[in-house]
């Protein structure tokens, strides 16, 4: 471990626990996220990383534990307080989640129109600036249905940063994109973080982009943090779970069979005498 310079903590997760029915999705997770860093949360499907992200944006309340953001515990914030906190972060959804009854420009301008009392001309200029930032100049009047998957994500990103947020959350930003578009989105993520000093929290399992964008990596497995570290530390990890995940081996401690012990019983369970 290198001695970390003292950094400002923007999100602090303490002992987060969440159950869905009898299944424990998140098991006592504690984590600090620093100002200006790109933190990648990775892990296999069903490891709880999406649930973790939904806790950070306040879409799900934890069963126990705290999520501190901007000096407030959002697990206990009221609806009004949550609305104020939400104005300070943006979120890029997996499919873009653009409002398909609105044009690209209206999508991006929506939160400005609703929350900031700005002149319509200024709103138009801001929208054009954000579109320029994601490389989509001149796409203002298209409908989301006319865009490709990569364009939708870029519009989603423009919408996420339109209020100049301090934190941007990305939910699998490169899933389902071709390698070039993946590179484009990764570069945008890096640019935003470096140029605008935005804190980025990225949930992904695309190993190429993980090592391209991450300052720090958190590996989740079955609701637990397996390892936290810099990309170098993760690459050289001795942890067999982490090794298997970054090399993509089928055999290893991460088994695709969920419960292996009662297979015979499971097979014959519905046979009636």
């Amino acid at each position: 471990m290198t001695a970390e310079p003292k950094k400002e903590v923007v999100i602090s997760v303490k002992n987060l626990v969440k159950n869905f029915g009898p299944r424990r999705i998140l098991n006592d997770i504690s984590l600090d996220i620093y100002q200006g860093e790109t933190l990648v949360v990775m892990g296999g499907s069903g490891c709880g990383k999406s649930t973790f992200l939904r806790h950070l944006i306040g879409a799900i309340r934890p069963d126990s534990g705290q999520v501190w953001m901007f000096g407030q515990d959002i697990a206990k914030a009221s609806d009004e307080e949550m609305d104020e906190i939400r104005k300070k972060f943006g979120m890029l959804f997996q499919s873009g989640a653009l409002f398909d009854s609105m044009t690209v420009a209206e999508n991006i301008a929506l939160s400005l129109r609703e929350h900031a009392k700005l002149d319509e001309n200024i709103i138009n200029i801001i929208v054009k600036m954000k579109l320029e930032l994601v490389g989509l100049r001149g796409f203002e009047n298209l409908m989301p249905s006319q865009l490709s998957g990569g364009m939708k994500k870029r519009v989603g990103l423009a919408r996420a940063i339109v209020m100049d947020p301090k934190i941007v959350f990305y939910d699998e930003p490169t899933a389902g994109l071709d390698p070039v578009m993946t590179g484009v989105i990764d570069k945008l993520t890096i640019d935003l973080t470096k140029k605008l000093q935005i804190t980025s929290v990225v949930v992904t399992h695309d190993m190429n982009s993980v090592f391209r964008i991450a300052d720090r990596i958190v590996m989740l497995h079955q609701g637990n943090i397996m390892q936290i570290g810099t990309p170098e530390e993760i690459k050289n990890s001795k942890n067999p779970h982490v090794r298997q995940f970054i090399t993509g081996e089928a055999e290893g401690p991460i088994s695709f069979v969920q419960q292996g012990d009662d297979y015979l019983e499971h097979l014959t369970a519905e046979i009636q005498e």
């Binding site: 944006i57 879409a59 609806d79 609305d83 104020e84 939400r86 104005k87 972060f89 943006g90 979120m91 959804f93 997996q94 499919s95 989640a97 653009l98 409002f99 398909d100 009854s101 929506l110 939160s111 609703e114 929350h115 919408r159 209020m163």
Partner: protein, 263 residues
């Protein structure tokens, strides 16, 4: 097993009723309190919904009510002619359309047209994360999506019912004049003579209640959708079917209250 399934169904019914009631109270809250907290209903949305649920429904409402008026006149004429009382066709058509058939039929048509569209739209938004996206930019889905639809339908359905009533009576009038050989003045006079203000008022009140049923069920089903394209289909079906049933039940209750209870 059987009893258990009855229990489970009842439970989920009670839960749904509760949830719809919660949604209704939130909607009313945003309608009444919203403007005072500088969070009024989006005018643009309200206008778009008003046009969609009102203006665009005119043709289908006209057609249905016009032909129902004609059918009603023909059926009643067949009976009344035998007693030589053809003129009462005017009274029968006028009263039954304004009291009962106009409001109920128009509401059913609107539940099929507007209610289904609302559920399909909101449920698609739900399964493609658009509802969650609205929340993350601090827009309350009830205020932004439900309230405009609720208000638009509450304003437009009574208007459609009034227009439907007039067209339905006109359908009866056509049969009365051209088929039964009644004089135009006599037909109109008889219609007015038998219609009371109460008939029109109860018809309007009913349609207001029906509009709340349609918009609340449609929005609730839309916002509670889960499970992709299949879920969208399931919610839309549920929305239309349960609106139909509840409209008929509410109609029976309201008719009992207005015309039957004070014996």
């Amino acid at each position: 097993m059987f009893i258990e399934s009855i229990g489970r169904t009842t439970n989920s019914f009670v839960k749904q009723f509760k949830d719809i009631f919660v949604l209704l109270s939130q909607t009313v809250y945003w309608c009444v309190v919203g403007p005072f907290r500088k969070k009024p209903v989006s005018r643009k949305n309200l206008f778009a919904q008003t046009v969609f649920s009102g203006l665009d429904s005119l043709i289908i409402v006209f057609f249905v009510n016009f032909f129902i008026g004609i059918v009603l006149a023909m059926q009643s004429a067949y009976q009344l002619e035998q007693m030589g009382a053809s003129i009462y066709v005017a009274a029968l058509v006028g009263v039954s359309i304004t009291r009962e058939i106009g409001p109920v039929l128009t509401s059913l048509v609107i539940a099929g047209r507007v209610g289904a569209a609302i559920t399909a739209e909101l449920s698609t938004m739900k399964v493609t994360e658009q509802i969650e996206a609205l929340e993350t930019i601090s827009l309350n889905p009830v205020r932004y999506l439900v309230v405009p639809r609720f208000l638009a339908l509450l304003m437009m359905l009574p208007c459609l019912v009034i227009l439907g009533d007039i067209i339905g009576i006109f359908g009866g009038y056509i049969i009365g004049i051209y088929n039964l050989g009644l004089s135009s003045g006599l037909y109109i006079d008889t219609t007015i003579q038998f219609l009371t203000v109460k008939d029109i008022n109860t018809g309007l009140l009913k349609s207001a209640v029906f509009s709340v049923i349609i918009s609340m069920i449609a929005c609730y089903q839309g916002l509670s959708t889960e499970g992709g394209a299949e879920g969208v289909g399931r919610s839309t079906t549920k929305s239309v079917v349960s609106s139909f049933i509840l409209i008929i039940i509410a109609d029976a209750l309201l008719t009992a209250v207005f015309y039957f209870a004070k014996t």
